[in-house]
């Protein structure tokens, strides 16, 4: 493999001296397992795991670490990582004519056999195009040369593959653990020049989860709706049947610089059985699969020993529903008594059991607790199927604050289907009631320090949820609703943050987009859009111009209620849940809305 192009240390130094956090662009981490350059031969398949956000955000991603481990444990495959260079680094690279390179061996991306992007949300789409361009590769798939690397993407934001299909050779829908190796095995034939790209794609097309955009044609009617998708067959999502058939990552790459979640992360359960009607993750990761707690304890100890982390985080979509939680926490606590281990439990449902678990992991060090009532009125919580009552919330607040917690964070959504001004006033009043209750429950001397953070997000109807047909509320109305909350919640002790309504509108249009959305994404990127999820970098005008120039209307994707018999852009994917199930959930919600009037 002497045709691998790499970036020299000297050239890298030229750009690193003037950028912020240069530690993002070097490797030298513990846990790196890529093959050395000199150990690669003609049989080696080189895969770049590309994360379209900065190192600090991408490194804690568990999927990245899982695939990295699987690929590198194979003797003929080598995986290296690459993240989106921050804006200062991009500028320096473009000025110096340096192309995008991987961290481990500084291999130019064009020299890889496969580049796989992890798409965690839609606002990363433009970063993918930018990274391809920085690599000297054409973002548009059909313009790429036959000798170019195969480009693919996975993650929650490709469950609707349509918007990014113009840029990808294939997509991987669902769990990647068991699909990646068969794909790379077939790739070695393609790279050896034995078979063409078309043949390679044909060969992998039978694998679960492999979606090949070029195999589909979307036909649109004069009115702009999808008339027909050819062929009609659906791609079945890849799903690992038994999580325990893959050990957890016990030798992750340990970042040298601080990341957004600097701790040892362990997935204890995949999928969620709750069925909140707005929650995409709650449906696309089904069925619910748990790891065996007894087996996990040993693996966690091994991971902690290998990494030296003093904090472990148990990941799942609904940690309280994990049957072995108490056993896991107690078992691990017992075995790490003198190691000063702290544990964290994100995605806890705060009922009495949840609180007991939160207390069990905290052991004296109590900081913040997060509640997600999502909506203020019981009517609204019933509509979205968020099964929690105000009594439960209040009981939990009483108990938590009485036991020493001091900070509370609340999550709410606005713009939910059927939501009225009255519901919003109830949200505002619930925030006030929680604050008052919390202050009362706190021991007197601490009361002065009381503060509460409230995060208000715009509801985004997402594919593969019962609300996938619903319209996103108009910006003017959303702004009015924010105003109502701000006007009715006293500023003292309560900090309210909310999402940018225009960014939510773009995100929603992208997530429910069809194959024509690719033109908009391309145009927006050309207009300078990138890092759209970063408040300081989101450029609404770049997007507005892109929609206009592509003859597309963002509101006809975001602000429109999709017809329940309309062909949906994501009808090409089968996640294992029938449309009828979503329809019935949507129907129930609509019924409740009607009944309320």
């Amino acid at each position: 493999m002497d045709d691998i192009k790499t970036l020299s240390y000297g050239r890298l130094q030229d750009v690193l001296k003037d950028v912020e956090k240069p530690g993002r662009y070097i490797d030298c981490e513990i846990g790196v397992s890529s093959k050395r350059l000199q150990d690669l031969d003609d049989h080696s398949v080189l895969a770049a795991l590309a994360f379209p956000d900065i190192y600090d955000v991408g490194m804690p991603n568990l999927g990245l670490q899982i695939l990295y481990g699987i690929i590198n444990s194979h003797k003929d495959f080598s995986a290296e990582r690459v993240f989106a260079p921050w804006v200062d680094m991009e500028e320096a690279m473009r000025k110096e004519g340096i192309r995008l390179f991987s961290l481990e061996n500084r291999i130019m991306l064009e020299s890889f056999d496969l580049i796989g992007f992890s798409l965690q949300h839609e606002l990363l789409y433009t970063n993918v195009l930018n990274m391809l361009d920085l690599s000297g590769l054409e973002p548009v798939a059909e313009k790429r040369r036959p000798c170019d690397p195969v480009i693919c993407a996975g993650g929650p934001a490709v469950f609707n593959p349509a918007p990014m299909s113009a840029f990808m050779d294939f997509m991987l829908i669902g769990d990647g653990e068991e699909t990646i190796v068969p794909i790379l095995e077939r790739l070695s034939g393609y790279r050896a020049g034995k078979i063409g790209k078309k043949k390679f794609l044909e060969e992998i097309s039978g694998l679960d989860g492999v979606y090949i955009p070029s195999a589909y044609r979307y036909h649109y009617s004069a009115s702009g709706r999808i008339e027909k998708i050819d062929p009609p067959g659906k791609v079945k999502k890849a799903a690992v049947a038994d999580l325990d058939s893959h050990r957890i990552i016990t030798r992750p790459v340990i970042p040298n610089i601080r990341t957004v979640h600097d701790r040892y992360a362990v997935e204890i359960m995949r999928g969620c059985g709750r069925g909140c009607r707005f929650c995409q993750a709650g449906f696309i990761y089904r069925p619910v699969r748990s790891r065996d707690a007894a087996g996990l304890i040993g693996q966690c100890l091994e991971g902690l020993q290998n990494t030296g982390y003093d904090e472990i985080s148990f990941l799942s979509l609904s940690t309280t529903d994990y049957g072995g939680l108490e056993q896991l926490i107690k078992g691990l606590r017992e075995k790490t008594q003198d190691q000063r281990l702290s544990m964290s439990l994100p995605s806890m449902r705060l009922d009495t059991f949840g609180l007991r678990m939160a207390e069990l992991v905290r052991q004296g060090r109590k900081t913040g607790l997060t509640f997600a009532p999502e909506a203020g009125s019981q009517r609204m919580r019933d509509i979205i199927n968020k099964n929690i009552t105000e009594t439960q919330i209040m009981e939990c607040i009483d108990s938590a604050l009485g036991k020493g917690w001091e900070k509370i964070k609340l999550y709410f959504m606005i713009g939910l289907p059927g939501e009225t001004g009255e519901d919003i006033r109830e949200t505002a009043s619930l925030i006030c009631r929680i604050a008052a209750r919390a202050r009362k429950a706190m021991p007197g001397k601490k009361r002065k320090r009381f503060s509460m953070n409230v995060s208000i997000n715009v509801f985004n109807p997402k594919p593969f949820t019962p609300f996938q047909w619903a319209a996103q509320e108009k910006r003017e109305n959303l702004e009015k609703k924010f105003r109502i909350i701000l006007d009715n919640v006293p500023g003292r002790h309560i900090n309210i943050s909310w999402s940018d309504t225009e960014r939510s509108r773009i995100e929603c249009a992208l997530s429910r987009g069809d194959t024509r959305m690719g033109r908009v994404i391309l145009a927006a990127w050309k207009n300078g859009a990138r890092f759209d999820n970063w408040t300081d970098h989101f450029r609404p005008r770049a997007w507005q111009a892109a929609f206009k120039d592509s003859n597309m209307d963002a509101d006809s994707y975001a602000g429109r209620e999709y017809g329940t018999n309309e062909i949906l852009p994501w009808d090409t994917v089968d996640i294992g849940i029938k449309k009828q199930v979503f329809l019935s959930g949507y129907g129930k919600a609509l019924e409740m809305i009607r009944a309320g009037k």
Binding site: P22, I26, C28, N256, I257, D262, Q305, T307, G308, Y309
Partner: protein, 226 residues
């Protein structure tokens, strides 16, 4: 039981792009990986009891980073060194550790001087470097914070580096400025502009404690505590 160790480590190559805080976290994780028991501070948010010497700026390499750690197990300094080196990336090497008696002042408050070597490349004459070093010494923003500056090189070779000792803290009647490597490098870049000489490498060589006019390393100073 408690035992205090002082150790020296290097930070070379690419790792010069890591911040002081990143290095601290890296060392702490390596100690935990090695399974060595460290004392934790009391209080609300317990942290390992480990203190580091003065930080060096991002972009500079070092052969002389020092830290003092309090352990709760009896391990010999040599075993400590080899256990941790096994758990570290090769560009960080713990080169030495010594037990320190109780009562030794913290590195941060003890250290007086850091010695840096600034290696230059290009066509040069030793005379010019010496001149430059002198000018830097006399520069009014600089002179107050510099203890010593000279030109140096390999034995028998032309001088190709500036060696500069700067104060890491202020002291009444001695210096009222702290040496800032970044300022020096900027001044040097200005001096070098228009010449074909450029800075190749910046390396921290040693950390010193001043005792009766003598420069002692953080290890040498320990003999005064026995």
């Amino acid at each position: 039981m408690e035992k205090k160790l002082r150790f020296r480590f290097s930070k070379t190559g690419m790792l010069k792009y890591l911040s002081h805080l990143d290095m601290i976290n890296m060392i702490i994780r390596a100690i935990r990986r090695a399974g060595i028991k460290v004392k934790y501070s009391a209080g609300f948010n317990p942290r390992p009891v480990i203190t580091f010497g003065p930080p060096i700026p991002l972009g500079a390499e070092s052969e002389a980073e020092y830290a003092d750690v309090t352990l709760t197990e009896n391990i010999s300094p040599d075993d400590f060194v080899s256990a941790i080196n096994l758990k570290l990336e090769q560009k960080v090497i713990i080169s030495r550790a010594r037990e320190i008696p109780a009562g030794v002042k913290s590195l941060m408050s003890q250290a007086d001087i850091a010695e840096y070597e600034i290696c230059l490349t290009g066509d040069r004459t030793g005379g010019r470097l010496r001149e430059m070093a002198d000018r830097v010494m006399q520069h009014q923003d600089m002179k107050d914070s510099v203890y010593q500056a000279s030109a140096g090189g390999e034995k028998g070779q032309e001088e190709d580096r500036i060696i500069i000792c700067g104060y890491t803290k202020t002291a009444k009647g001695r210096n009222d400025r702290v040496f800032k490597l970044r300022d020096l490098l900027e001044a040097l870049e200005r001096e070098l502009s228009g010449t074909d000489i450029s800075i190749e490498r910046v390396l921290k060589k040693q950390l010193f404690i001043l005792k009766d006019g003598q420069k002692l390393t953080p290890f040498e100073v320990l003999r005064f505590y026995v």
